[in-house]
Symmetry: C2
Subunit: 156 residues, 2 copies
């Protein structure tokens, strides 16, 4: 079972590849793909799509895991994040990858045990659950790893 | 100038191909692409993407026109419509097509002269602006034609 996990965004797309081997989660790859604010949205979406296709080709995952987005207001940002999700779901579906989606609450519970966890708690717990090489990581990358951990913990 | 216009939706995707020739708008093609409610969302998105790729290949448009979506509440439907928009924008961008986006209000003004127009007014006006073969059409198809008319009227 190998999962390509995303924390969807158009400025920063967190990505992680995780695998379950002998009941243990292993992190194979993680990154934060960034796009320039100088580019228009379609170009940024196209760059993120190219990076996603590259990841699918390089890592041959069995499935894709994504965080669900909830709109709390009529924000342009929330809509553009949903548009990134649409591109990711489309690419996963055209590559016959199963799509697993989790609410932010489900991710928090899977990683910290509590739905009230904040970003600091996630950042503290993720390295305790999977081996991560040293070095500072952006929240988006850690969130993608957390989504991947949630997926491997819940899929049978 | 040839435009591929969409009224984005995942149950029904309205599509229209329009061209401006000697200052006159001509409708070359329009349809309402439907997906089965029995399919999961990723499969529906994948089917709509395949239909979009077919339209791009068949009609070689210079640009794509889309209606903007506004979220008035935290609805699953609104998010899924944004996800369809993301897939459409991604496919347009990867085919180097310019993307034109219009608010529902801009479309109403372009087609009926008033931002307060309802669906009936749109349905009455669209056949007065472009030649449409007889037969009943779904709102989604008429809306896609209206978006295409708006685009041809505003792009120089």
């Amino acid at each position: 079972m190998r999962i390509l996990a995303f924390d969807p965004g158009y400025e920063r797309l967190g990505v992680a590849v995780l695998e379950k081997e002998n009941g243990k989660e292993i992190l194979l790859h993680s990154a934060c793909i960034q796009t320039s604010a100088k580019l228009d949205f379609p170009t940024r979406l196209s760059e993120l799509g190219a990076a996603t296709l590259h990841l699918i080709k390089e890592w041959s995952p069995n499935g894709v895991a994504l965080e669900k987005v909830f709109f709390t207001n009529n924000s342009k940002t929330a809509m553009q994040i949903a548009e990134v999700r649409g591109m990711l779901i489309y690419l996963a579906a055209t590559h016959q990858l199963t799509i697993h989606q989790y609410t932010p609450n489900e991710v928090k519970v899977a990683v910290t045990g509590s739905g009230r966890a904040d970003k600091t708690a996630i950042a503290l717990m993720v390295p305790k659950l999977v081996a991560i090489s040293r070095g500072k990581r952006l929240d988006d990358e850690l969130d993608a790893i957390a989504v991947g951990i949630t997926c491997l913990a819940s899929v049978r």
